[in-house]
């Protein structure tokens, strides 16, 4: 089946996996933090943070990509600062990961937030009376109890990252081996006569990968729920 997808396409698949993996991994701690803050704290500007997090969902992806380009491009205010530190995002796979992470972030945060909100605060109180400081209450009670939602949110974010196109191609372009993810490759194929077959092959690959992740997450979540359940 080596000729089923060409080497270029396999590179796109590998790149998409890498981009989605790192995008998900890096946004997870931030996602948990933001979800927790939105679920349990009240602070000035909370609605603003909430709005910012959801922005990528509301905006057309092209706009998000455009804004990323303006902000994180080599000439952008943030991109310039990062470049001085040796971190280059523009037109790199790291930028693709950033775009994917930002696009997937609202989904991740929503899922985690809902499951944190569902944790019974009375259990957190019980942990506090047993001497657990807020951080440890979070680590030993809130986090494990919210695990099904965290798993769900993570996989959702991964799936979204695998499918992200508009923001990615606008921000980091479509450079083979560097930023040409599966969706970008599909786009390129669809732009030329006769490319539909190759596009479909890539669609199938990405569906298989994402479905695999999804089924895995269901199994994980069920196992976790069985452990936690029947309180």
């Amino acid at each position: 089946m080596t000729d089923w997808l060409g080497p270029e396409e396999w590179r796109a698949v590998a790149l998409s996996l890498r981009v989605s993996f790192w995008a998900t991994l890096f946004s997870l701690p931030m996602g948990i933090l933001v979800a927790y803050a939105l679920a349990r704290w009240s602070f000035p500007g909370k609605q603003l943070v909430n709005g910012l997090v959801h922005l990528p969902l509301i905006l057309p992806p092209v706009v998000t990509g455009y804004l990323l380009l303006l902000g994180f491009g080599t000439r952008g205010p943030i991109g310039g600062v990062l470049a001085d530190w040796g971190i280059v995002l523009a037109f790199r796979w790291t930028g693709a990961a950033l775009a994917a992470a930002i696009m997937a972030f609202p989904l991740m945060v929503r899922a985690i937030r809902l499951s944190i909100e569902a944790v019974d605060p009375r259990l957190e109180q019980a942990a506090a009376t047993l001497g657990a400081a807020p951080f440890w209450v979070f680590v030993t009670v809130t986090l494990p109890m919210a695990l099904p939602g965290i798993v769900a949110g993570t996989i959702l974010a991964f799936a979204k990252a695998m499918g992200e196109f508009g923001a990615t191609i606008t921000f980091v372009s479509n450079i083979p081996g560097e930023t040409r993810t599966i969706p970008s490759a599909i786009y390129a194929f669809l732009q030329v006569p006769g490319g539909e077959g190759s596009a479909m092959a890539l669609v199938i690959v990405s569906v298989v990968v994402a479905m695999g992740a999804l089924v895995l997450s269901e199994i994980l979540a069920r196992r976790v729920a069985a452990r936690v359940g029947g309180a």
């Binding site: 092209v62 990509g65 455009y66 380009l69 303006l70 491009g73 080599t74 000439r75 952008g76 280059v88 523009a90 037109f91 790199r92 191609i169 606008t170 372009s173 479509n174 450079i175 083979p176 081996g177 560097e178 930023t179 040409r180 786009y187 390129a188 194929f189 669809l190 732009q191 030329v192 006569p193 006769g194 490319g195």
Partner: protein
């Protein structure tokens, strides 16, 4: 070359930002160029507008091949193009297509009553104010005097391939696309070709970007002008403009 290049080999790496409609042609040109010169060609394909914006934001491109002159002009105005580095690579023809393998041809002229042909159906075009194929199509229909009648019946897509797909699927009975797209598509028939004088010339300009250059870039520009490239482009249905 910029700091971007992760591998700097003995041979140069040439980065080309090109309109997505050139995908197949550039894939073949890449193979030929790399075999012939030993340089490494990297092609990033996308919408001309997105690519131009990226170049404005410092994208590490050596060359830009645009599907319209507008964006090239805009870059030129920004001083992002190397002086003397611009030329028109190829041209294209605009055609009227119909659903099916053997639709009847029509004559394009002042008497064309496309609205009657459409009936309840839609005319598929790329975005008429934004995407080059749509802009050219609108110009042609305006030139023919039928635009006001047709405007409400136009289904605009974000790129010309999507317009082609609408016709191929029969969702829209007619569409206006490039000849290059229509040639390769089953299930559509070119029923007329718009006269070149009915719309601004369709050209794909190429430019070397400001501050770029070197042996690899020079070699690629030379290759684009070569017969080998010309053959490839013409096989795709383009009109090669450079001798």
């Amino acid at each position: 070359l910029g700091a971007w290049s992760p591998v700097i080999a003995a041979a140069d790496q040439v980065v080309v930002f090109a309109a997505a409609s050139l995908t197949t042609a550039l894939t073949q040109i890449e193979t030929g160029f790399e075999a012939a010169t030993g340089h490494d060609l990297v092609v990033s394909l996308g919408g001309s507008s997105a690519l131009a914006q990226q170049i404005r934001q410092g994208a590490p491109a050596d060359l830009f091949i645009s599907a319209s002159t507008d964006w090239m002009d805009a870059l030129a105005a920004d001083g992002l193009i190397a002086p003397g580095g611009r030329f028109d690579l190829l041209g294209n023809r605009l055609v009227l297509i119909a659903h099916g393998r053997d639709a009847a041809r029509v004559a394009i002229g002042p008497g064309l009553d496309l609205a009657a042909h459409l009936g309840e159906g839609r005319l598929a075009m790329a975005l008429v104010d934004a995407v080059p194929a749509g802009i050219y199509g609108k110009a042609a229909l305006t030139h023919l005097g039928v635009w006001p009648a047709l405007a409400p019946r136009v289904a605009q897509t974000d790129n010309v391939r999507a317009a082609l797909a609408l016709v191929a699927l029969g969702e829209a009975p007619y569409g206006i696309v490039y000849a290059t797209d229509a040639n390769a598509q089953d299930n559509v028939t070119i029923i007329a070709t718009f006269p070149p004088d009915s719309h601004p010339p369709i050209t794909y300009p190429v430019a070397v970007l400001a501050g770029r250059g070197g042996a690899g870039v020079d070699a690629f520009v030379a290759y684009l002008r070569s017969d080998a490239a010309r053959t490839i482009l013409e096989r795709q249905g383009f009109v090669a403009l450079q001798p």
